[in-house]
Amino acid sequence: MKGSFIVNGKKAEWSFAPDAVLLDVLRNNGHTEVHRGCGEGECGACAVILEGRLVNSCQVFAASAAGQKITTVAGIGSIHSPHPIQQAFVEAGAIQCGFCTPAMILAVFCLLQKTPNPTDDEIRKALDGNLCRCTGYVKIFEAVRLAARRMSSNE
């Protein structure tokens, strides 16, 4: 079957199997910044923003996402023009192997859009679906606080 999507602001039309999940369709079409982790909806490495909401792309049928807006981490910043959240992750050392980072940054992006100055509890809840097995979250929390400060004050 075929479906059109708006990925990072650009229209795309792709063919896929009726039971394909969004993760596979994105990766098969070049969006390898969306990582494949557990495939069960538990690790969150495959998270993307679908119509403004963070979702695990391994748990979304591509057919049910057709016609919708999808944002991957490549849609919010690049290596030459990083988003303040990406910059904060680098500066806070909130990255080790980097596998969870794209989805982690999207989770923070969703959080800060809704809650510009989150408490630690709000950060914890927003990141409850994103597992990191390297840094232990301390640096990630520091990065979220740093990004929130900068984005609030337009530093």
Binding site: D19, R53, V55, N56, V60, A63, A107, R124, L127, G129
Partner: protein
Amino acid sequence: MNRIEWYFPETIDEAAALLARERTVPHGGGTGLVKSGLSSFSGVVDLAKLPLNYLKMEKGILEIGASQTFASVAENLSNLCPDCILVAALGSAASTPLRNRITIGGSVSFFPPWSDLIGPFSVLEGEICTEGKNSGTYDLSSWLANRPVQQGTLVTSVLLPDAADWDSCYYREVRVGFDYPAFTVSVVARKNGSKIEKVRAAVSGGLERVTRLSGIEDGLNGKDLSQLASLDVKKMARVTFGRKPAGSAEYLSEIAAVHVERCLKSVLLGGGELR
């Protein structure tokens, strides 16, 4: 693999007609079908375009459309009636990206053993509204007892009478936040001074899926708060479990009873939420 056709109806009648077909299944957006796979189906009816994404309170009755996600319900209710037990239950279920996909309709259709909805639904004495082959309104016990009624039937909404009018406590037994709970405890109560007007308590996750603790309810309804101290709550709250990764049947039964007692104390005697 079978040929699978996706349908995107825009009206409930259209969806109900499609669901009357053989081997055709509804998909609200949640994860149940992704996990079980589509190999045994020939048609999938996507419900996203149906006008079922709403939440409203009329004359004290809370109606939640089947397409509302857990995240949306928790957010909407936290403004409308922040003390409603569903805010705590659905706001803590699974994880953020999953709460953004799991729908009320899908959850009611599956009511998995780890459901965070079934306990609050039981104590709020909710009803399930359906269209299609078995159109009607079902209470929880008749819904659970008659699974064939769900075949070819579309869940359109749930009704929760007086959902905002309770003090409540919700507990989920997990090791980390997004674990599937081994069991949940739901307690709601209304007090007038030192008198307990009404209390309802339920434990989910046991062999019976959800168990209303009618002995405790009968022992406390209409009584003074001091009555709580004279009841052997831990004994009366015993629910039968099977063995789970979280522990043996005996262990789960014991700690579920402890948390029933704590929830009752929290709701009736104060002390705020336990989790």
